[in-house]
Amino acid sequence: MSMDFGRRTLLKGMMGGGAVMVGLPLLDCFLNTNGTALAAGGRMPVRFGTWFWGCGMTPERFVPHTVGANYDIPVELKAIEPFKDQVTVLTGFQALLDGRSNFPHSSGNIAVRTGSAPDKPGEVKAPTIDVLIGDVMGTDTRFRSLEMMATGDPKHSYSMRNAAVTNPSEVSPLALYTRIFGPEFQDPNSADFKPDPRIVLRQSVLSAIKDHRDRFEAKLGSADKARLDQYFTSVRQLEQQLDLQLQKPPPAEACSIPKSPPDGTVGTDIEQATRNHKLMAELLAMALACNQTKVFNVVFSDSASSLRRTGSSTNHHQLTHEEQIDPALGYQPQATWFVEQSLAAWGQFVATLAAVKEGDGTLLDNTLVFAQSDTQFAKTHSVVGIPVMIAGKAGGRVKTGIHIAGNGDPISRIGLTVQQIMGVTVDKWGTQSMQTGKSIGELIA
């Protein structure tokens, strides 16, 4: 990934040497009086994120019966009913494994997020879609992306460039708060701005580190070179973040600095997870509104969902395999309870973004959230019909409020379409049977 220093410097010169933020969040003066668009005809910044929950759903209770607009709301979709017109549901797409093993709670998820199924457990053959989108969209904010997860394990992150480069998740709301709004936060709306001289000193440290690169280049084999490249890329990433901190950020009307959350516990208890998810969703919404990042990844429960009830023990994942299907109800009552809780959290997340007013709409209007699970029906690890939902209008670029039935099509069509919507120049995505060039027209506005 290259840094556009040249263009930036050029435009600096154009504006007479003043600090012009090009490619940065928009200056207030470029918006029309409604704050909706660039006076010259542009848009509010568009954000992208993923939202994940583990262990799927119960098809008979989740899949709407009607296709298209005004879809019906089956019982497991109740949580999104208030936002039905801002959510598109995609069912019936499948992860095609081309004869490879279906590694439980892994193959399906990796297929959805990378367009390729793993040959071995733990293998990740291509970057996940948020990384690809972040490469394009995430370069001009303080954080390239923010990852968080609600059941307490930083290793559970599905934002991966490859198996060895996984962006770890924040698990503590307090730690997330400190990272975003702690001592290094620059309030975009504050009148006075004094760049911290220590920032320049930190940059000089990083600059000296970068000088070590040549020595490694000269002596390493290709695999090791790639690893060190990633290290130096990470150094550059921090340099960019520091760069932004030297410049007065443009005002962000929807930005208001939240209060620090309490220092609570993290864990797999459903109440802990729900509480921590809510706190982190609220912090994330403000981080977006304050232009600290434009890309995010939220994991509510890990793919083999370890959610548990307070004081009880068997977790969601165990229940999906061990609980008998109740003959009268037709489903596993305990396991399904966790599905409902997970989807309730999704509803909470959507509501949190919708509650932030921005321009003449909401933050949700200017965001595209790509929500998915790792499987359709967890008891059988089925990867046919893995549920996906798109929430938010992405600044008008995506059609919401419809139910799209995949009819067995490769699920990579969704990832391809979403990347195109977010501005990644890609016309074909995925490998083998999941290689596709056919985007989903009904999604694109």
Binding site: P154, A164, P168, A208, T233, L238, Q318, Q324
Partner: protein
């Protein structure tokens, strides 16, 4: 007659047993420090009271060992954010008023303006320990410049010096262990590790930390390139109590103790199992291991039959034994005939390889195969219906053996399960928290079975079977070598691995002797620049 005696004497003088076979050596690695190694290095260099707080990018288990994964992982953007913040924080503590006098070899002419000479002295000295080799001129000059500029901006020598120091701690040369080859004058055409790279391998293997000042000095003097000098340093490290740290780090990796971070037990079914029990269970096993293998200089295979262990009060609760020591551990020996015998009956093994609310013969059997015997078990198919196996309340199938027997009759499953379940069923007398039980759901437990042709009747005799299985020590030798070198043995190292296996047996399966043999060997420091073929997985793992 005299000639025969002379030859015999010569043979004796030459040392008993065969000598090290020729070996190609393996590829050089560049390995990221594990969290434990990072912390220990900082503690060694700046003092144990320096607080290191931050979130590390997770270590990655590759081919069964985190140590091998260190050669695959890198540093993500948020990972580097943390490293940079930690580096500034550590530098701030190391040069604060409390610590600076001990840390600095000199005093600046003035505390308010740059003093390049003093900065260079300090950064050079500490940089050598951090980079595990002397800094290059250019490296030192660059850091002195950073410190100089920072001092000018901030008006304080020490505050400025912090930035110079932080740059060293965040640098890839600290975060990654480099291994550099050089031509080997004793074997023209062949390569060996440089002396500093040798020092690193030696120190991380034996103490799990960066080389200390004495080891670096020995490297500088060329002593590590001389057999006697190398042996001297190896013996110094092995004789030190810090050998415990190295051995503990190895076994924590080999036994997958990092999985304890994810371990959760049902608080209703196992109310006694809490975080203190989990932590003490790990500690118990590590103490059992170091006591037997280092302090007693014992036979590795006895780890699976020993009745000697250590107890703390939290463990006493679970074992239902009185423990006098209030905080900490005391030695305990189970009586002859007690079901507790060997590593497999310790809580760390039993509880880690179980489900939150019940035991698991399959998980335990798999763990024995993969962790202790270095044998691979294939992954299960995705569409398994587990409901019969998991139904612990089925009156027809009272014990796990019953439930799994019904399951093993399915030919698709039997292929893999027959190599796991019979082993794990031998441990069914211990529940999911490692507690001994007489029966399950009122039915008696039949803990008999066989492993690779060796029959056993209960957990203790299962331990004996492992003791007698040649795969057990063979697996340790392979794992130690992979841990030490960061890679699987390559085909050109096949003879060398065979030699290590044989010598381990000849040495009575004593770990310090194995470590020493590797530490003073030729192979350990021999580099084959282009690995001859792919690493040998089948034969040794």
């Amino acid at each position: 007659m005299r000639r025969v005696i002379a030859f015999a004497t010569l043979a004796l003088l030459a040392g008993c047993g065969p000598s090290e076979p020729q070996s190609s050596g393996g590829p050089p690695a560049i390995r990221r420090l594990t969290e434990a190694q990072y912390r220990q290095s900082i503690a060694d260099i700046f003092g144990p009271d320096i607080k290191v707080s931050g979130r590390f990018d997770p270590d990655m288990r590759t081919d069964g060992l985190l140590a091998v994964g260190t050669g695959r992982v890198t540093v993500t953007p948020s990972g580097f954010e943390q490293y940079e913040a930690m580096a500034r924080n550590i530098a701030g503590q190391a040069l604060d008023e409390k610590h600076r006098d001990a840390a600095m070899p000199c005093k600046p002419a003035s505390a308010r303006v740059p003093d390049d000479a003093c900065a260079a002295q300090f950064l050079g000295r500490v940089g050598r320990l951090l980079f595990r080799r002397p800094l290059l001129e250019s490296e030192l000059k660059a850091q002195v410049e950073v410190a100089n500029k920072a001092t000018q901006t901030l008006g304080n020598f020490y505050s400025g010096l912090e930035f110079g120091l932080a740059g060293l701690i965040a640098a890839p040369e600290f975060v990654f262990r480099e291994e550099d080859p050089e031509p080997d004058p004793a074997h023209p055409g062949s390569q060996r590790l440089t002396a500093y790279s040798k020092a690193q391998r030696l120190s991380f293997l034996l103490w799990n930390t960066a080389p200390d000042d004495e080891l670096l000095a020995a490297a500088a003097r060329g002593e590590l390139n001389d057999k006697a000098g190398l042996a001297r340093q190896a013996d110094r490290l092995i004789a030190s109590p810090r050998l415990n740290d190295g051995v503990r780090a190895f076994f924590s990796d080999m036994l997958s103790f990092d999985a304890f971070d994810d371990l959760a037990k049902d608080s209703v079914i196992y109310p006694k199992f809490n975080i203190n029990v989990a932590n003490d269970a790990k500690e118990q096993t590590l103490r059992t291991i170091t006591d037997l293998l280092i302090t007693q200089h014992g036979d590795y295979r006895d780890l699976f039959t020993t009745r000697k262990t250590f107890l703390s009060r939290p463990l006493g609760l679970v074992y239902r034994l009185p423990v006098e020591t209030r905080t900490g551990f005391e030695p305990h020996e189970f009586a002859e005939g007690d079901p507790h015998a060997g590593l497999l009956t310790e809580i760390s093994f039993l509880a880690l390889h179980s489900h939150p609310g019940r035991s698991s013969a399959t998980l335990r059997g798999k763990a024995v195969r993969e962790l202790l015997l270095c044998q691979i078990v294939p992954a299960p198919p995705a569409n398994v219906n587990f409901s019969i196996v998991q139904d612990t309340n089925n009156p027809q199938f009272k014990t796990a053996r019953d439930r799994l027997t019904a399951h093993r009759s399915n030919p698709t499953c039997a292929g893999c399960h027959k190599i796991m379940d019979p082993i794990g069923l031998g441990l069914e007398a211990f529940d999911g928290a490692g507690q001994f039980r007489d029966g399950e759901n009122g039915a008696p437990i039949d803990a008999s079975g066989e492993i690779d042709g060796l029959p056993f009747k209960d957990a203790a005799s299962l331990g004996n079977a492992l003791h007698d299985d040649p795969a057990t020590p063979a697996c340790l030798v392979t794992d130690i070598y992979r841990y030490a070198s960061g890679h699987d043995p390559v085909p050109g190292e096949k003879d060398w691995m065979g030699y290590l296996q044989k010598q381990f047996a000849a040495d009575g399966y004593r770990l310090p002797d194995l470590l020493r043999r590797i530490a003073v060997s030729d192979d350990f420091y021999r580099i084959s620049p282009t690995p001859s073929g792919k690493p040998v997985k089948e034969a040794t793992r």
